[in-house]
Amino acid sequence: MDASNYLYISALLFTIGAVGVVVRRNAIVVFMCIELMLNAANLSFVTFSRINGDLNGQIMAFFTMVVAACEVVVGLAIIVTIYRSRRSASVDDASLLKR
């Protein structure tokens, strides 16, 4: 089967993730949507790796996972901090800074 079909899936997942960031209010869900985007990118890497017959893409995907893990740690720490101060995980509530 044509490996590029995976690319379509990847693009769709990326799109859905991006939209999720825009439409969801819960900071954790927003963050998960970002993770979805990263995963979509990873799928592209793996697929291209297969198409190109080259393992570098997989290495990149691997690094993405590791970096994403670090990002999750930092991100969730920030979200928890905000939640503790505001008793809310809604990103809309954090809108003191504007204009």
Binding site: M37, D54, N56, M60, T64, E71, A94, L96, R99
Partner: protein, 505 residues
């Protein structure tokens, strides 16, 4: 199975290794040194590390045109210049960070809680910012020397993560600070996803993850342009986000305002150098032959960025936000140097980055000086009459604003002139005209602040200027001296840059 041990060329990596080593020692200090000693130890350690890194960088400047770490790092003239700029700015910024008055005494405590009050009273300090700063600096110096997409991405995250954290550590207005951290983080991660997606398509296009490989594929032209274009577009989003170009700029006013001012200074100056450094390398070497595809778009973005940054800055009431929009406008000016895609553009952009970075740190340093009993005063209306109360602060701030406005005899003018002439040389006349136009608009609000400081009578509201430490004062003075010196006699630095700034491909 055969495995040959990689050759890393440690000497070229040494500045980064020193930084990382310093940061790790800093972490250990957190664990093992008594609380009372920590601030002094950390400050000394951080400054020492940075100085050591600078010295080491100076020593290896001759060994340019080399790749290191199995080709993941490239060290050439621009790399040296950019790394040196970042390190110098980092040193000045650390002077500001050393004034721990800006940072929350106990970030884990709820804002306004008894616990926080006690922490403040006990003089608790979060000395973790020092290692975090060093980590960020390490990421920044790695960003413009990365030679493949993986290293680039790791460096990007390396510089971002500490900044996300540090943005949330302000002592005053903690909710706003945390909000800044959240926004910076979410949007940063969002843009990283775009960056990564673009990287995937570049990989798909060229079957290579290294810059050299991608460049060869573009030169060879055998691949599919759609993949290349998507790759360039998305990778650019990630980079443009970091420099704060419209429409990827919206984080910067909020984050600049919310973050502790020393962090803002550091972030505004150093991140910009790092990000533009990477952009220069990528656009000047990797994408150079696909110029047709990105110059028009980047020109459009540059024009919109300059104009929007300048226009919105007019309407600002908060000095930090105003500086943020000014930095957006400057991102537009700097983009015109990227668009130029010639030697002059490269030289000009590097010069501009350094000059602008120094002035930015200086400007924010002055912001840290203006305080009342509740901390920094960033409301512009309360800056009225500052010239009378503190000629030092007001004069130096005016100097930095004049430099931002590009008035002759300040570094900003030389920068603006060189970057616009480079852009003009490459035929980007529209960008130059927009640049001139937005400079005019920008002049308007810079002057407005000068009017406020010098020509408006103060309202008695307890706003005063404190010189909290000799270090902060030093950073203002250093920045001012550099700004004037580069405006009056920039020849040595320009020559130095011209001689060094040659990318190896």
């Amino acid at each position: 199975m055969s495995f040959t041990a990689p050759v890393l060329s440690y000497s070229l990596l040494s500045p980064m290794l020193i930084l990382l080593g310093g940061a790790l020692i800093g972490v250990l200090v957190e664990a093992f040194v008594s609380k009372a000693l920590r601030p002094a130890v950390q400050l000394t350690l951080t400054l020492g590390t940075l100085l050591l890194a600078v010295m080491q960088l100076w020593r290896i400047r001759g060994q340019q045109s080399l790749t290191a770490a199995v080709g993941t790092i490239v060290f050439d003239g621009p790399a040296f210049l950019l790394q040196a700029s970042i390190l110098i700015i980092a040193i000045i910024s650390v002077f500001l960070i050393a004034d721990t008055e800006h940072f929350a005494a106990l970030p884990a405590a709820l804002p306004g809680s008894e616990e926080e009050r006690q922490a403040v009273q006990s003089g608790n300090q979060i000395t973790e910012v020092y290692p975090l700063t060093l980590f960020a600096v390490a990421g920044m110096v790695m960003f413009p020397v990365a030679n493949d997409l993986i290293t680039l991405f790791v460096a990007l995250e390396m510089l971002s993560l500490p900044l996300y954290l540090m943005a949330g550590l302000s002592r005053r207005r903690r909710l706003a600070s945390q909000e800044a951290a959240l926004k910076y983080f979410l949007l940063g991660a969002f843009s990283s996803a775009f960056f990564l997606f673009g990287a995937a398509y570049l990989y798909g296009y060229s079957a290579s993850i290294t810059f050299a490989g991608i460049r060869e594929a573009i030169v060879g032209g055998g691949g599919n342009d759609v993949l290349l274009l998507i790759g360039i577009a998305f990778l650019s989003i990630g980079l443009l986000f970091k420099v704060g170009a419209v429409p990827f700029h919206s984080w910067s006013p909020d984050v600049y305002q919310g973050a502790p001012t020393p962090v803002t200074a550091f972030m505004a100056a150093a991140t910009k150098i790092a990000a533009f450094g990477a952009m220069l390398r990528i656009y000047y070497t990797v994408f150079a032959n696909a110029q047709w595809s990105w110059t028009p778009v980047l020109s459009g973005i540059a024009i919109v960025t300059m104009l929007l940054g300048s226009l919105v800055a007019i309407a600002q009431r908060d000095v930090k936000r105003m500086l943020a929009y000014s930095s957006i406008a400057h991102a537009g000016f700097l983009l015109s140097g990227v668009i130029a895609l010639n030697k002059a553009g490269l030289d000009a952009t590097i010069f501009y980055l350094f000059a602008y970075g120094v002035a930015t740190v200086g400007a924010f340093a002055v912001v840290t000086l203006v305080r009342d009993s509740a901390g920094e005063v960033t409301d512009l209306n309360r800056w009225k009459g500052l010239g009378k109360r503190s000629p030092f602060a007001a004069t130096s701030f005016a100097l930095f604003l004049l430099a931002f406005a590009g008035i002759p005899l300040t570094s900003g003018f030389i920068g603006k002139f060189s970057i616009f002439s480079a852009a003009y040389e490459s035929g980007a006349k529209g960008v130059v005209i927009a640049g001139v136009l937005s400079s005019a608009i920008a002049a308007f609000f810079y002057i407005r602040v000068i009017v406020l400081m010098f020509f408006t009578d103060a309202t008695e509201d307890g706003t005063s200027v404190e010189i909290p430490s000799i270090l902060t004062q030093a950073s203002v003075v250093i920045a001012a001296v550099v700004t004037v010196a580069l405006g009056v006699y920039p020849a040595p630095l320009l020559d130095f840059i011209t001689n060094l700034a040659i990318f190896i491909r």
